[in-house]
């Protein structure tokens, strides 16, 4: 593949300041079962080349799904033509330094290759999961799915870059719906498709999966007769499978430099964070330590280089509650003159790189789960996201969870259904009063982070301990 790309660069005669070619080959096996019957089975292949051409400070791009030399040359020519047409209107002159020369590779760690399980094996497992979740006649729907992805990326540039990255991933999900008349409740294993990791089939099935499947079914039924979540301000304890969403929406997106620069204002939105906030804003309580960490083995968005070739390293975004740097590429860093990270990522060959989250983690504290709960006189403990909504400045949010427990006098007591909470981002993170230790830290991911124009959906990973927040408004369901 490298030879095709380097040949394309060699024969190009266009007077560009920089040309980059990024070829992506993505294959996936997707399997889904509902109520013990196959819902979908298939394999997908997407393949193509993105040509980025820098001329007079403007990058233009051409992308094609054809890998012939002529098609790649046509894509380069399109990119050049686009840059020429737009360079007088460039929002910021892009320097060649935004595309450094790099060489290297990255390969996901794995033990069992993606060929280790046959389509029949996977279907058998998914059918069994449905059977395990069907704990009573009140379970009216069970579903289970598994997706195995294999993504190879080759990146070369006119200034000598040559990067190969090979990412293997497994995404799994199972859940049950229980119904009693008008009352309907859903329970899943940690929220919809939260189990997203890099690796091979050693990740699935895990040793505890059958017990977890029974618990999912039982808790869906349990929720049918549970009390509604109470209304009012209280101590809120969030499990890592909800913290994933909380970190993503109220830390990750507002810290994206392209949002702060205004690029996203017409679609995903802007940010309440201002350029001058970096280095001084108290984002939350002093217990808050957040890292951008593309080096965590097995986390869903690990890599060594972003899609412009920038080397990726672990960086603190927030340390002891203070905002230090944003999620922004070399381009965005130059435009905004603040520190960023290697996060220029594209969803595939047919989209240009933009500022994205990757692995964004809340670092663990020192308290055990028992210690955290024991300090709560009255509160609510919530698990697994089921509803999410936040404003275009990432300020006012409302999130809902699948399952909750009342906390009374330092003990988890009765089960609660339809738990929701709402707050504003600065108020919420300044209310952080407890951070669990490494034993409470869990890692999840999602393939569904959407933003950008044209739209792009991308994979992210988030790890977090259990966290405690003071005086948060919680409420239940009902019209």
């Amino acid at each position: 593949m490298f030879s095709d790309l380097t040949h394309a660069l060699a024969v190009t005669t266009l007077p560009a300041d920089w040309i980059g070619l990024r070829m992506v080959k993505e294959t996936a096996g997707v399997r889904g079962v509902r109520d013990g019957h196959p819902e979908y089975n298939g394999e997908t292949l997407s393949q193509g080349v993105m040509a980025e051409v820098l001329v007079n400070g403007q990058i233009g791009y051409g992308a094609t799904n054809s890998l012939t030399p002529d098609a790649i040359q046509a894509a380069v020519t399109q990119g050049y033509r686009q840059a020429i047409a737009a360079h007088q209107w460039a929002v910021h002159p892009t320097a060649p330094t935004a595309r450094p020369k790099v060489t290297g590779q990255y390969v996901s760690p794995f033990q069992k290759p993606l060929t280790a399980m046959s389509p029949g094996d996977i279907n058998d497992l998914l059918v069994q999961l449905c059977q395990q979740m069907k704990v009573s006649d009140q379970v009216v729907k069970t579903s289970a799915s598994a997706i195995a992805t294999d993504i190879e990326t080759w990146f070369v540039s006119s200034n000598g870059s040559e990067v190969y990255q090979h990412v293997l991933g497994i995404q799994t999900h199972f859940g049950a719906t229980a119904q009693d008349g008008a009352i309907v409740q859903q329970r899943t294993n940690n929220g919809f498709r939260a189990h997203c990791y890099q690796g091979g089939w050693e990740l699935f099935p895990s040793p505890a999966i059958w017990e977890q499947a029974v618990q999912v079914g039982e808790q869906a039924v349990e929720l049918l007769s549970a009390e509604e979540c109470p209304t009012g301000p209280t101590t809120l304890v969030l499990a890592p499978d909800q913290m994933m969403l909380q970190i993503h929406e109220s830390i990750g997106h507002p810290l994206e430099l392209d949002r702060i620069l205004g690029d996203e204002r017409n679609y995903a939105g802007g940010s309440f964070v201002q350029p001058q906030d970096f280095g001084q804003l108290s984002y939350g309580s002093s217990l808050m330590n957040v890292t951008f960490d593309p080096s965590v083995p097995g986390e869903f968005a690990s890599y060594s280089f972003d899609d412009t070739g920038a080397p990726a390293t672990r960086e603190f975004l927030i340390k002891d509650g203070v905002l230090l740097r944003g999620l922004g590429s070399l381009e965005s860093q130059a435009r905004l003159e603040v520190k960023g990270v290697a996060c220029a990522r594209a969803s595939s060959w047919n989209r240009p790189p933009i500022d994205r989250m990757a692995n964004l983690n809340l670092e663990p504290g020192t308290d055990s789960f028992a210690d955290l709960i024991s300090r709560v006189e009255n509160g609510v403990y919530m698990e697994a996201n089921r509803s999410w909504s936040i404003d275009d400045q990432r300020h006012k949010f409302q999130f809902g969870c699948e399952y909750a427990k009342r906390i009374e006098n330092g003990q988890l007591t009765t089960t609660l259904r339809n738990p929701n909470y709402r707050a504003t981002t600065p108020q919420f993170w300044h209310s952080l009063i407890g951070v669990g230790n490494a034993a409470t830290w869990q890692m999840y991911g999602t393939p569904y982070c959407g933003k950008g124009e044209p739209n792009q959906v991308i994979r992210v990973g988030h790890g977090s301990p259990v966290c405690v927040f003071d005086q948060i408004d919680v409420f239940g369901g009902g019209a």
Binding site: A85, P119, Q398, G477
Partner: protein
């Protein structure tokens, strides 16, 4: 559509050769179809779906170009069915017939190897019928060389941001029974926002098959007038319930939720639908509210993923009652129902909310005192069984007193049930609809849009 007929909407231009990429894709598609039909074994059935595009994407920020480029893409999804089992393969389609043949050969063999390993699918529906259609719409779009100057010169003094997306979009379908559909549409959307220095914004959308500079300038003039109204300090509104006018774009956002656990028959059967209370007869919506699928405008193909053609019009909610759901052939087989040619995902493809009788000139008078909401943002079910939706106000939203716009508002979170705001709290619908184009481009450029009027709601609940 009757079997064997051809869909021929008005204003269709048969100009396959006018766009060489469209012509090449159609030829490649036909080549693959022919190959498959010639190489199918006894007892095997297939469906073949194509999505393809040749698109220009130019993204703006602060009346400058942020990113600009083109994407040439095409993908086939081949589903093979045999011995009560099915599986699919998705792979690129290019103009290279030899490569395409190699890929289809590999896909076919891979599917034949896989099918015996899979469990029997009791709800498998084989394609049937002999429907064919060929709809090709051509346009006159801006060339990439003209685009930045044409779009940005008139807005050089504005904080203008957004995206132009234009070019040809193709959808194809064929199967082993002889059905064949082809849909190609050359069109554009310009989706933009203009901002005041204080961060207040106005949204605008221009869409069509033919670039019309005069229409663009007229739209900008309207945006500038709206922006003038935003140059007042925004008013903070306390949470509570307020009389509210929801403009067509806001209504379109709310109706979009009906495709996500709403009108799907499978969702209704499994308790996942927010409309289950309607189905069970425990609640009704306002008799003024009518929701239908209307394909008569020809903006999206009528064929679905097994080649069925949807009726030109299908009323889903009438007189506040759920009179039809969207039933795919697969759901129909599972529950012993009759398919109404819904897509496999049973979502709205060409929705329309019927207009009412409220004249545009009377909106503010009828609103009297309350909130004028132009757009909504980031909607989600907060409690699906009770139809409760949460989301944010966005763009040009105003506090209105005694029929006069007083000031823009700071954005508010709402959390209310559709059984309220489309039920007993629904006072009126405007007598005019607006077409809100679909501007999404995840994976590929979306097509179509929604026709909706504005609605006046007596009490709409804001919570944060």
């Amino acid at each position: 559509m009757t079997q064997g007929s051809t869909i021929t909407p008005e204003n269709k231009t048969d100009a396959a050769t006018a766009n060489s990429f469209v012509g090449a894709m159609e030829a490649s598609f036909q080549h693959v179809v022919t190959y498959l039909r010639e190489h199918l074994l006894d007892g095997e059935h297939f469906t073949l779906e194509l999505t393809a595009e040749q698109s220009q994407f130019t993204r703006f920020n602060r009346a400058k170009v942020r990113q600009t480029g083109t994407v040439v893409d095409g993908a086939l999804e081949l589903t093979l069915m045999a011995h009560d089992r099915r599986s699919f393969r998705t792979f690129p389609l290019t103009g290279d017939h030899v490569l395409n043949t190699n890929r289809i050969t590999q896909a076919l063999q891979s599917l034949r190897d896989e099918l015996p390993q899979l469990p029997i699918d009791p709800y498998l529906v084989l394609p049937k019928g002999s429907n064919t259609s060929r709809d090709i719409y051509t346009g006159t779009l801006l060339s990439p060389d003209q685009l930045p100057t044409t779009l940005l010169t008139p807005v050089a003094d504005l904080d203008f941001t957004g995206i132009y997306a234009g070019g040809s979009v193709m959808r194809g379908y064929a199967d082993s029974e002889g059905q064949l559909h082809w849909f190609a549409n050359e069109s554009f959307t310009l989706d933009y926002s203009v901002f005041t220095p204080g961060g207040q914004a106005v949204k605008g959308t221009v869409a069509g098959r033919h670039w019309d500079e005069a229409a663009y300038h007229a739209k900008l003039k309207d945006s500038r007038q709206q922006l003038e109204r935003m140059n007042v300090a925004p008013k903070a509104i306390a949470p509570g319930s307020y009389r509210t006018y929801l403009a067509p774009a806001a209504v379109a956002e709310l109706i979009g939720m009906f495709s996500w656990g709403g009108v799907s028959e499978a969702s209704l059967q499994k308790g996942d639908s927010a409309l289950s209370r309607l189905r069970r007869g425990e609640a009704t919506l306002s008799p003024q509210f009518v929701l239908k699928e209307n394909f008569s405008h020809g903006l999206v193909p009528r064929f679905n993923d097994i080649g069925e053609a949807a009726p030109l019009s299908l009323t889903l909610i009438d007189q506040g009652q759920l009179c039809n759901s969207l039933i795919s052939a697969r759901t129909a087989k599972e529950y012993g129902l009759e398919s109404n040619s819904a897509a496999g995902w049973e979502g709205l493809r060409s929705p329309e909310v019927c207009p009412g009788s409220l004249p545009p000139s009377d909106i503010l008078n009828r609103l009297d005192t309350g909130l004028y909401v132009s757009n909504l943002h980031y909607l989600n079910w907060s409690d699906r069984p009770t139809g409760r939706i949460t989301g944010m106000t966005r763009y040009a939203c105003f506090w209105v007193e005694n029929g006069k716009m007083v000031a823009p508002i700071k954005n508010l979170r709402f959390d209310d049930s559709l059984y309220q705001f489309l039920g007993e709290q629904l006072l009126a619908l405007t007598e005019q609809q607006e077409f809100i184009p679909e501007v999404g481009s995840y994976e590929q450029r979306d097509i179509g849009g929604i026709r909706a009027p504005g609605i006046l709601v007596n009490q709409f609940a804001y919570t944060l």
